[in-house]
C-alpha cells in the first residue's frame, strides 16, 4: 500500500474532460503501466473494443497480456507504444520512456544477411550482448542467411533478438515466440529474464501454461461487455532452477481461465 502511494506521487495526472480525448502520461520514477477508464472503438466502426478499461502492471519483469482472440490485445499494445492515439481515458506509462512493440509477422529487409542487419542496427551500448543473445536463441547458423531463407521459428527468434538489442524500458512482444518449440521458448524466456532483470516486458500469448508459469503479472483482457474488462493476476514468475510447483501452477492457470 505504501508502495502504491509512492508510485502515485511520481505521476503527473492530466485532467481529461471530454469523451475521446486521450491522455498518455509519462513520468520519471518506478515503472508503472496503468489504464484508467479507457474507451475505444476503431474509426468508422460501430464495434467498441474497450469500455472503461482499467488495470495496472507495475515494476520491471516479464508480464503478460492474455485474452481470447479479438478481445483487443494488439489494440491495447498499439496504444501503449503510441501507435493509436485517439482514445478516451488515461494511459499512464511512468518510468517507461522507451517503449517498443514487436509482432510476429515482422520481417528483416531482404538485401542483407541477418548478421549484417544485426551489426548495423545494434546500438554500441548493446553490442556486447549480441553474441550471447544469438547463441542462446540458437541463431548462430542463421547469421549468413537472408531472412526469407529462415524457418518461421528462426524468423521470429531473429526478429525478437534484434528488438532485445535496442534501448528500451518496455518491450511489448505480440506473439513473438509463435512457431517456436516449447523447449526453445522456455530457454529464450528464461534467458530474457536473466539478461534484462531491470526491463519490463509485456508478453502477448494465447498459451495459458507459459503465461501462468513464466509471467510475473498477468493482465487478463476480457470481452468488452464484461465488467471489469481487465483483471490483473499474479503469475508464478518461474526463473529457472528447481521445477515450478505444479499445484500452484495449476491454481494460477485456473485463475486465469476463470477470469476470462
Amino acid at each position: 500500500m505504501l508502495y502504491e502511494i509512492k508510485l502515485h506521487s511520481n505521476i503527473k495526472y492530466i485532467k481529461v474532460s471530454p469523451a475521446f480525448e486521450s491522455t498518455r502520461t509519462g513520468a520519471q520514477g518506478p515503472m508503472l503501466l496503468e489504464c484508467k477508464n479507457i474507451n475505444y472503438q476503431y474509426p468508422g466502426s460501430d464495434t467498441q473494443v474497450f469500455r472503461d478499461l482499467n488495470g495496472r502492471v507495475a515494476d520491471p519483469g516479464f508480464h503478460a497480456l492474455f485474452g481470447p482472440s479479438g478481445v483487443g490485445k494488439t489494440t491495447l499494445a498499439r496504444m501503449i507504444c503510441g501507435e493509436i492515439k485517439h482514445f478516451s481515458g488515461q494511459l499512464i506509462t511512468a518510468g517507461l520512456e522507451r517503449i517498443l512493440y514487436t509482432y510476429n509477422l515482422e520481417r528483416l529487409p531482404g538485401w542483407s544477411s541477418v548478421g549484417e542487419h544485426l551489426q548495423l542496427n545494434t546500438p554500441t551500448s548493446s553490442r556486447h550482448r549480441m553474441d550471447e543473445l544469438v547463441a542462446s536463441f540458437g541463431l548462430q547458423g542463421c547469421m549468413d542467411s537472408r531472412f526469407a531463407q529462415l524457418s518461421l521459428g528462426q524468423q521470429n527468434r531473429t526478429n525478437l533478438a534484434r528488438y532485445l538489442l535496442q534501448d528500451f524500458d518496455l518491450l511489448v512482444m505480440d506473439e513473438s515466440l509463435a512457431n517456436v518449440d516449447e523447449g526453445t521458448k522456455e530457454k529464450i524466456i528464461l534467458k530474457i529474464k536473466q539478461m534484462f532483470p531491470d526491463r519490463a516486458f509485456l508478453y502477448i500469448s494465447h498459451n495459458v501454461v507459459e503465461v501462468a508459469k513464466f509471467c510475473k503479472q498477468v493482465f487478463v483482457l476480457r470481452n468488452f461487455h464484461k465488467f471489469p474488462q481487465a483483471i490483473v493476476l499474479e503469475g508464478r514468475n518461474y526463473t529457472g532452477g528447481p521445477g515450478v510447483d505444479k499445484k500452484k501452477l495449476e491454481h494460477t492457470m485456473l485463475e486465469i481461465v476463470n477470469a476470462l
Binding site: L100, N121, S145, N159
Partner: protein, 254 residues
Amino acid sequence: MLYRRLYQFFMIYFLGLASLMAIKYGLQLSDYVIPGPPEIASTGLRVSGRYLLNVLNTLAVAILGHILAIVLATGIGIIGRLTAWIGSFIRVAAYNIQAYPIVAVAPIIFILLGDGLSSRLLIAAMICYFPLLLSFVGIFSEPVPEIEHFFESTRRMTWRLQIKIRAFENIHKLITVVVGSATLAMVGTIVAEFIAANAGIGYSIRIALYQSDLAKILVALFLIGICTSLYLVLLEWIGYRIRRRWAIPEGGLK
C-alpha cells in the same frame, strides 16, 4: 531470354507477312500495291544498311527519352510519397494529362522546339513517362509495415531507407513497368519522327509512304522489331542482374 524474344518476333513478323501475301494473291493485287517476296528481298538488301543506321538513331533517342522518363518518374514518385494529398494530386494530374494523346500534342512541341533532337526526345520521354509515374507513385507511397515498423519505432527510418525498402519489396513490379515502358519510348520516338522530325526510322517510313513503297516499310518494320527486341532483352537482363545481386546472396540459397 534473347532466343525467346527473337523467336517470338520472327513468328509474329512472318505471320503478318504471310497474311499480306495471302491478301495479295487472294485478291490478285498488283506488285505496286503489295510487292511480292522477291521485291521485298531485293529492297531489303538495298536499303537495310541505311535503315539499320536510322533504326539505331531512333533507338538511341528512345533510350535517352526512356532514361529521362525513369529519372523524372523516380523523382516525382519520391516526392509523391511525402504526404497523402501530394501523392493523390500527382496521380490525378498524371491521369488527366496522359488522357491527351501525345500525337495531338506533338505538333505544338514541333512548333516550339523545331524538328531536331529535342522534340523527338521530349515526345519519347512524355509517352512513356506517365505510365512509369503512376506505377512509381503507387509503389513508393505504399508502406511495407512488416519491415518498416522496426525502423520507425527505433527512429532509424530515413527517406532513403524507406524508398529502398519499398523499391526492394516491389522490384519485380518496377522491372516489369520499366521493360513495358521501353516499347512505349520506341513508339513515341517513331511517332515523333513520323510527324515532323528530320532523322530516324520514322522519318524514313514517312518518305517511303510518300513513295507508296510498301517494301521499304516492311524492311523498316523488320529492323525496328529486331532492335526493340534486343533493347527489351537488355533491360530484362539488367533487371535479372539487379534481382540476383540484391535479393539472392552470392553462392545462391543456403
